[in-house]
């Protein structure tokens, strides 16, 4: 890194080393120690930027968000139909319907049945975290028997037998 590069660096990011790219920080610090004026000028601009504080959110905003969340349906997890695609990748759920989370669980189970459930192995397409969420959702609906059917066992008694009961 040259002296010019170091000066360019602080003219881009300011005088605070915490904002500099990590891989350049140490070298830049050493070079700029010899050029305090450049750092001083940028520190002045940094201080001006710091003075421009944005207004805090209103209390009403927080209440609005919580109120709207109560009537905003969460997306149906796409693990069983499109494994690996995440909302992080800006996947648009094709199932944006006005349904409750539990309605979404029921809808997906119906789809699994229509596709021929025997061909599906939940263990192959779900992660342990997804399995836990499905378990919880099914249990809350009182769908233990149905979930047992989904897993490949028919009844609670079958489940107990397989468990060695």
């Amino acid at each position: 890194m040259t002296e010019k590069n170091s000066i360019d660096l602080i003219q881009r990011y300011g005088a605070d080393p915490a904002r500099w790219p990590e891989d350049m920080r140490e070298t830049a610090l050493q070079i700029l120690a010899a050029h305090p004026d450049a750092a001083h000028q940028e520190a002045a601009l940094d201080a001006a930027l710091h003075s421009a504080q944005a207004p805090m959110p209103s209390d009403l905003l927080r209440a609005r968000i919580l109120r709207e969340a109560k009537t905003t349906a969460q997306d149906i997890p796409t693990a069983l139909t499109n494994y690996g695609m995440a909302a992080n990748d800006r996947v648009k759920s094709p199932f944006k319907i006005n349904a409750t989370k539990w309605g979404a669980v029921a809808a997906t189970l119906i789809i699994c049945g229509a596709l021929g459930f025997q061909a599906l192995s939940p263990a192959a397409v779900t992660t342990p975290v997804d399995d836990a969420i499905w378990q919880e959702a099914a249990a809350d609906l009182g769908l233990t028997d149905l979930y047992g059917w989904v897993e490949g066992t028919d009844t609670e008694s079958s489940t107990r037998n397989e468990a060695g009961g």
Binding site: Q11, E22, E42, S51, M56, P57, E68, A69, Q74
Partner: protein, 189 residues
């Protein structure tokens, strides 16, 4: 403090958001409501509009939470991306709505005169930032106020790191030329 590293500070909240826990949403707001709103305000210059966009960001986060895969990105970075894109979309569709009326901030300190000067200085700087081109303003906001890394900010803006650095340079150069030199000297004192 610049946020670096790969661990997501919100990893404790994400499973509860996925499960539809509204308390988790409240906790997420405790952590990020102010910074997301500040990002939107600096981009849009309008408090009511910035709160609308902030609401949209949190509701989108709530909505997509069941499909969030941990480890691919930090939740806060994703939220900043949604907010930035939403703001840039709004700015593209309409003329910028920047007013000279910066909302008053509460002043409970005894040094009212000093605080008045500080407030005026803040307004001058806010106005100068508001006049930057949208992408320069976005770059400056993500770097300086959101304290995102070079990689995170350039990904949010959808540009190369070099292009992001160019935006930063131009933003700071413009501000140096726009701001009253006395303002910068006073700040440096």
């Amino acid at each position: 403090m610049r946020r670096t590293g790969h661990t997501d500070p919100d990893s404790d909240i994400i499973p509860r958001l996925r499960a539809g826990d509204e308390h988790a949403l409240a906790q997420l707001m405790d952590r990020h409501l102010a910074t997301i709103k500040a990002l939107c305000f600096r981009m849009l210059g309008d408090e009511a509009l910035s709160e609308d966009v902030t609401q949209t960001v949190f509701l989108k986060t709530w909505q997509m939470a069941p499909n969030w895969i941990p480890g691919k990105a930090k939740l806060r970075t994703w939220m900043c991306r949604v907010a930035t894109h939403q703001c840039l979309d709004i700015l593209r569709k309409k003329s910028p709505h920047f007013t000279d009326d910066v909302p008053d901030m509460a002043d409970n300190t005894p040094n009212a005169d000093t605080n008045l000067i500080t407030r005026e200085r803040s307004e001058d700087v806010s106005r100068a930032i508001a006049k930057l081109p949208d992408t320069q303003r976005a770059a400056l906001t993500l770097c300086y106020y959101q304290e995102l890394s070079q990689r995170e900010a350039s990904e949010i803006l959808g540009v190369s790191e070099k292009a992001y650095e160019s935006l930063l340079s131009r933003a700071r150069n413009t501000l140096r030329g726009t701001l009253d030199p006395k303002l910068l000297k006073i700040e440096a004192a």
